[in-house]
Point group: C2
Chain length 414, copies 2
Amino acid sequence: MIFARRMSRVRPSAIRELLAHGADPDLISFGGGYPDQRLFPLDDLRAVLDDLLRPERSQVLQYATSEGLPALRALIAERMRAGGTPTSADDVLVLSGGQQGLDLVAKLLVDPGDTIIVEDPTFLGALIAFAPLEPSYATVRMDEQGMDVERLAEVLRANPDAKFIYTVPDFHNPTGVTMSIERRRRLIELANEYDVLVLEDTPYRELCFEGVQAPTLASLDTEGRVVHLSSFSKILAPGLRLGWLTASPEIRERLGLLKLAADTQSGTLAMAATAAYLKGFDIDAHVQRLRDVYRAKRDLMIRTIDETFPDTVARTYPTGGLFTWLTFPEGFDSARFMAEVAVPEAKVAYVPGATFFAVDPRPNHARVNFSSVPEEQIVAGITRLGEALHRAVAEIRLVDADFATLTSQKEPVA
Amino acid sequence: MIFARRMSRVRPSAIRELLAHGADPDLISFGGGYPDQRLFPLDDLRAVLDDLLRPERSQVLQYATSEGLPALRALIAERMRAGGTPTSADDVLVLSGGQQGLDLVAKLLVDPGDTIIVEDPTFLGALIAFAPLEPSYATVRMDEQGMDVERLAEVLRANPDAKFIYTVPDFHNPTGVTMSIERRRRLIELANEYDVLVLEDTPYRELCFEGVQAPTLASLDTEGRVVHLSSFSKILAPGLRLGWLTASPEIRERLGLLKLAADTQSGTLAMAATAAYLKGFDIDAHVQRLRDVYRAKRDLMIRTIDETFPDTVARTYPTGGLFTWLTFPEGFDSARFMAEVAVPEAKVAYVPGATFFAVDPRPNHARVNFSSVPEEQIVAGITRLGEALHRAVAEIRLVDADFATLTSQKEPVA
């Protein structure tokens, strides 16, 4: 059997192997990127589906258009406008989860060897989605303000034919940091200057714990070069498998053709249920509840880290989203530590950081999730991890210089 | 904006444009490939969802594994075994509709320029799925026994490096014909001889109106070279967006990685609901009801065609599925006739046949669907189409020689 050349780039992810040890009931895993399933609006969705699954609405189980149900597209556009991003229903393409948008945009733009500019580190799911398109990568380091846009300028100068810039500006996965408004403006300037498309991936944007989020890149875009990608997975439920993107007409139309080729359409029942939920229930109140719960979990995790971890382990301070990012001393291999100590001895799992780097994996990081883990397990698991780290890193004092800026963040004064 | 090279192959389908005239309320369309939505098991699915959407089962809205819920994979394997195809749960990859399987298999195997062997005509959705992979095509003519396997032998001799053979052996889309058991055996022999993979696409298989279907190609396969693709769209509901494939371990595993890259997983709620439906309700009785209704519609359509169409228009006799296939006299352009006469005057739409040919479009065919149209509209629409055809083809007498065999079928004697 001779597979296509792209398959040399499609390999099982080490993280999946590492996280496949779910059998141990004592293990506390901070590895997932899951929302807290105790917060799903089960009653509301049950009421919605009970109302939809009636003979006079049997089209909710039928085929629908590949762009998505018109009612849902309109409601998404309305919600985006309310969030400050000018959008019309025609701009919206409903997706089978945000992941599909990564696949479609890469298909639209990337021939083998073409360059994608990504943050360093970046979302693992994006690297998985892009791999079959056989891209090259240019990476831009991050600090506590998000992607370093002056480095981006250098990267664009060195890669003027780059096909697109991929960024998670709000509560970045894996680092938890948020791009400042000045940098957002500068990123758009640079994209215009180098005539490059921007893929703005914002699944966590609404989960902000403090203040108001900086404007979306899409709202700053005046040349139709931002594809804005988002999802219902974090604000409603991942199991509905619905996301969306917005883009300029010539791009949106082509992405729609690629969607038709890939899976015809997203689930009609899921789209109808989501539209009915948005119409009949108060999603803003629901999102506010998510914010409150996740903020409290973030606080608990940060406090426990600060109380129990060695001083040589740094963390970011996420003002929203699902994750914090740990920086261990240089020379510390978080994957090896997890396999040899954290899982077997401390019974704690996280995602080793190396997997999030497109080009040069750094072994001394880890992504830790606080949204899906019950409060008492946050305290128990982080404390156990801290004890194991104290034993392990007692004599390693050198902090990774490049990420030193990420380590100095503490809670805002206010 | 410079798009990837594959985008030169990704274009809006003419059929979608033609069928986009849905505004006219008097129009009767035989163009869709839809199941009859009056037959969806709404009450059963409502009961299933009412039971699932409870706090103790909140994982039905959470992320799940990319291969699909284990319970659903086991139930699919059980159902396939009951249908005569040896299958284990591990062989099953749950898909976001059957269309996704076409995309994944082409991604696994096809580099630009590689040859795919397809039936002539073939399923339009497959041509749409394969296009971004930039294949070449070799085509194999069909007759009333399905793909002509002696022609297939010639095509394989001429294309020994072909990557796979794509076939819809049961109630073929668009022709409605079914591959005989002798040809199935010969196809597998040839696939073994030329070491080529077979993609068996069987969404209509269970909708058989007469007798017992010939064994699946997967059940005749002894070398792990058949990927068997099917769907819940025609036996349960398209709006759940669930299909599946089965394949040998090395292929199934790689297709699972491509699925992870494309959309992470299929909808958890849809998977859980389908599993609960299969467990708690009698899908065999439901499918039997579909067969009874569709058989009666097939009979009504065939009878009305025979009574009202000119003798120079031939049709196939489908023993199951959703479609019959019309052959008009040579020189008759069914797309032009639809745009100029059928839609504006007779207020009837179908799918012009040219769109189903991978290489040489034949203009003198049409695909007609009988499953989704109410009985009274079948009679009214076919009669109107027959009257318009009488006026149009009165003086054209020559029947397409290649498809003459498809025109001679009448109902079986028994």
